[in-house]
Symmetry: D2
């Protein structure tokens, strides 16, 4: 029961990092959608290893195969199943890890949970690779949101380690300009200088055989007002459910999030007014576009904290559960000093999938 | 579809703030549980208006009536339905608000969403009052977790406005001592001095006809390791889904949360070791007791940001949607300058309900 | 997990026959529906004891109270909760039955299932009374189907004991004429003579302190073609799931059902043709209006077998589970010699609820 | 939303008959189950074309590939995904059928439902072939039920056309003897003579380019008492939901089913008694092992009516929806004169999957 999500569109996800294949089943897409296969490929390329110079050297071309629900270029309305074969399985890298627990990883917990039968290779079902199917579905969702509502979903890196990008005024930002600045960048930020400092931080970590984390900010523009439901099916709940399903996320805030809790109510409230064209405008967007679980027409904005990669080559103290004694571990193999750049399309997918659930008729 | 949650135990929730009654249906509780009705009452009393000197003057005794699933002091194993009658409905306070949108509230979005048919009185289904049924179920869950696993769930106020309580070392804390310090307090904190400053901040806000928000930290001790599932049914996902269903929450972080994103991997990882009694211990709990969606035996810890109460008596700028023009609004009626103290049992319920889903066999 | 149904509209049901109240929560109704409360009352009156001269003498007025989701005559779009108080609880009738198992009842199985904690009074959660909330929701569904699609749902008694009504040509029947013949009848049949024989059979059973069962045929006219989905969400699956949730149903067939299995394919197939007005017509409706799980525009027709009432006053052989020995039992109290007439609105509700799930946008 | 089933174990199913592959995802199997792959293969062989001399000449070896959730011979506890490649796709057989509607098929309804985008080849998602993944999961369920509870699931053909097998006394039958009589038979019946007559009926139909249907009876022995829940999650509801998901089923009855509706209550009730060894025995099993939705320890028995194959080579009258005129159709290609023998493992899978949902802890 760990891999089912959604109500109107049920998304089923499967696969271990070093098993035969990973994939998903999307059940509930309307018939007749002309899927942009190239767009899906591009989105998945953003996520895969090797997409940026800092990531792991593991080679996968992440090419997917659609098995059903798609015919002559259009969705058929029946369940759409797709798989991604695992090609580069250097299983030998992981054989020694069956009994030595890697700190920060789910090895120990997974061992207990699956009573020793879990696929321990490369993280098994816990691997970040399992986010690939999420990006596939997220890309489909993005296309549908754009084609039907003109909704634009963008993201940027707000912070790497202790280097922070500047603030962004979302309600006065232009989605196209923003897209021009952020798209196709190794490190998508607003302040190029901060961008360079972020690259240095990642490089340093790499040289020290260590890792760094960061914060991703995701935004959706042109989201129509009045969608969502209060309480259990609020938009924040849906987004949160997805974001915290992604490995390595440890925090999430909407709008001003934790900052709001310092403000006075008079300052925190986003007040509306009618402008000269009698259109409803807002003076602020502290609530990140969502009130009472329902969209209010302002950009939906959230930030999520990504912890530093747990797999590092630096020697660490840990335990040997087989012999029940303390041990040291230096993990070899291929590891990212920072997964934040690769996580961007994954986090955007959380936004697009949640919005699709909300807006699909 | 907004009021159903859970898989093993399905929880159905209903009610508008000023309708006849609010309530819930808990379907899936095993038979034979001797419910501690007094405990449920006490937990609900912590939430209701009037529980602390700062809250709204609305009088409700929140007494509940169990309609089914409970017989001779024991659960029957069939769906347990309960209701809480709404007694103090000063509907006249709200009649003028049908067309004037209250800033920070879901009035406008709700009007669009429900096409004018929403129950606008007092926030309708969006009201904080709808959390009462959640506390009922949360209390049942707490009892079951304690009786079966010895799990202790506690919470404290980490911050009100800009006043912060001191840090807490969770892995070396004693649940009983902590309970002694935090229970039955108006403002449960570790540092009594900070507690007094928090009271002053709330008092100030009240006098200024304004409001303040804060941060709640919730902890669960004695949680057995190895429970949970990766991805969509991770413990973080479940907790997050519940926390963001609660009105006024705008942020959530597990363990060190957003702080982790600043750390190096070597520092962030919680390393384990065997102590003299050959029991597994940890040097830190930056991950808040959860790794890869699965409990690791350390205390489960999360913090959530609560925004300042949206309803304030200070005059605010807003819009009149009927006449499509700008307007001013001074909300009268009964309003909390700070809902954080009353939100504590609600947030604890998010923890207990999520853990119950995880641990119920 | 026994009392949740539906996807677009989630229906939650609760209550024991002799508990405080029974009721339900309907979550997902669109806002703005002007519910016909009188119609709901009339439908529920058809089901309740005393509705016909043959049924049990238990007096209930089945009046319901709507607790939420309904305001000023319209649905609000939020969960609609309603309860029906249990008034006539002659609990003493049932106290001796705690250990003596009534043949044909769920006493023994329920005792095992609920480990002795089940509410044994009057059948507890197994009681036919639990169908009252189903009829409430079924009435709402009927109204929505009629208002939006002109769909007419009717039913008749095809058989009581060994007395059978004549055949009906559904595709050439007129819904209005049929309604005229069947509505407001004690025993709704086409052949009045057979109707009288059925009354006699029921009277005989009553005098012998025995009971009889029968077959109900349910029809839906004007169902638009092309709705439904193959496999798990086929219309037959939905109807079947609901029909077999109703106590006492033991068989279900669509169209010619078991008869079809005797036919040759050339005879069984419903062939279509264009008539003079170029409208699609059919030569037969052996498939009961559903092909491949999808409606084909012909009347949806199914029949369900209702077993004879299990509670009879005739002495029966059974077992005493407390003393582990054989025993005899003569059940006193109030029992129906035949529940088929009262089951008609319940079965119609299975049809309307399933169709609503299918057609709701 | 057509291809998801289950609560404790979620089963997701996908695929079109002539698409790249069909398959499924089973999410919720406990870890550590040593799957009997040979048994799964044998079960699937019973279903595939060519399994018996009467069926279609389409050649498929139905070999499956497990993509995840299975490692070193054991389930890992994570979602188990499997696919079956479609090899023999004589698509040209079906190209002329895009506009001519085949009587008895879902062509017309499917065309409306999927707005022209459905995969019309060979029945697309409606094809009987989509039952192959169901048999895979059914085989896994059978193994788990047998290994954990000693439950034996058998089936036989009760009728083909108008030829009926003799009655069976289920409560006095020996599962092993029965298995010996029924297993590995072309036409599994109790009376060999009737079996021969059934073969003749199928042969006749084949020669006439027509088809016949029949009735399958399915039985489960050693089912422990006290499992299931009343109402929406009753065992009958679960079985019915699955059975009516299978293409071509048009009727279902439990125990004596439609016959029960003719009986008096005194005869219909299954009375229990203590035998000499003080074990609970029953005098009859008219209820088919289920009372109030809960198992009572007697064999679970149901029968389902399978309609004659809709695809027949005899010329039929139908409509041409493109030109809106009447037309004649003689379907060429490969067609079964009777699918009943191949449907046996499919119907058994409905039994095993429903029981697994019930019994899985």
């Amino acid at each position: 029961m760990s891999s089912n999500w959604g109500n109107k569109v049920k998304f089923s996800l499967f696969g271990e990092s070093h098993g035969a294949a990973i994939g998903g089943v999307i059940d509930g897409l309307p018939p007749g959608i002309e899927l942009d296969i190239d767009f899906i490929k591009k989105e998945m390329d953003r996520r895969k290893p090797g997409a940026d110079p800092y990531s792991t050297k593991r080679k996968e071309d992440d090419s997917f195969e659609i098995l059903s629900g798609f015919f002559n270029g259009y969705t058929t309305g029946t369940p759409l199943a797709f798989i991604i074969r695992n090609q580069d399985n250097r299983s030998k890298d992981y054989s020694k890890l069956k009994d030595i627990m890697r700190p920060g990883h789910a090895d120990h917990t997974g061992s207990i949970r699956y009573k020793g039968f879990n696929d321990y290779r490369g993280g098994g079902h816990f691997s970040g690779r399992i986010t690939a199917p999420l990006v596939f579905y997220g890309a489909v969702a993005k296309q549908m949101l754009y084609d039907n509502y003109d909704i634009r979903i963008l993201s940027r890196i707000k912070r790497i380690s202790d280097v922070e990008d500047r603030e962004l005024d979302h309600i006065n930002a232009d989605a196209d300009d923003l897209s021009g600045v952020l798209s196709n960048k190794k490190i998508p930020v607003l302040d190029a200088d901060k961008g360079r400092k972020m690259e240095e931080a990642i490089e340093n970590a790499k040289n020290c055989l260590d890792s760094v984390g960061g914060i991703i900010e995701c935004m959706a523009f042109n989201v129509p007002a009045g969608h969502g439901m209060p309480f259990f099916e609020s938009l924040e709940s849906k987004i949160a459910h997805l974001v915290f399903s992604v490995p390595a996320t440890k925090g999430l805030e909407f709008g001003k999030g934790f900052e709001i809790s310092k403000m006075k109510g008079s300052k925190a409230n986003d007040s509306f007014y009618y402008d000269e064209d009698n259109r409803i405008k807002a003076r602020s967007n502290n609530n990140g576009g969502i009130l009472g679980g329902i969209t209010n027409g302002l950009p939906v904005v959230f930030s999520t904290a990504i912890k530093p990669t747990a797999s590092i080559s630096t020697e660490q103290n840990t335990i040997d559960i087989k012999n029940k004694q303390n041990a040291k571990l230096a993990v070899t193999g291929r590891h990212d000093p920072c997964i934040v750049p690769r996580a961007l399309p994954v986090i955007e997918s959380c936004m697009s999938i949640a919005l699709l659930e909300l807006l699909l008729v």
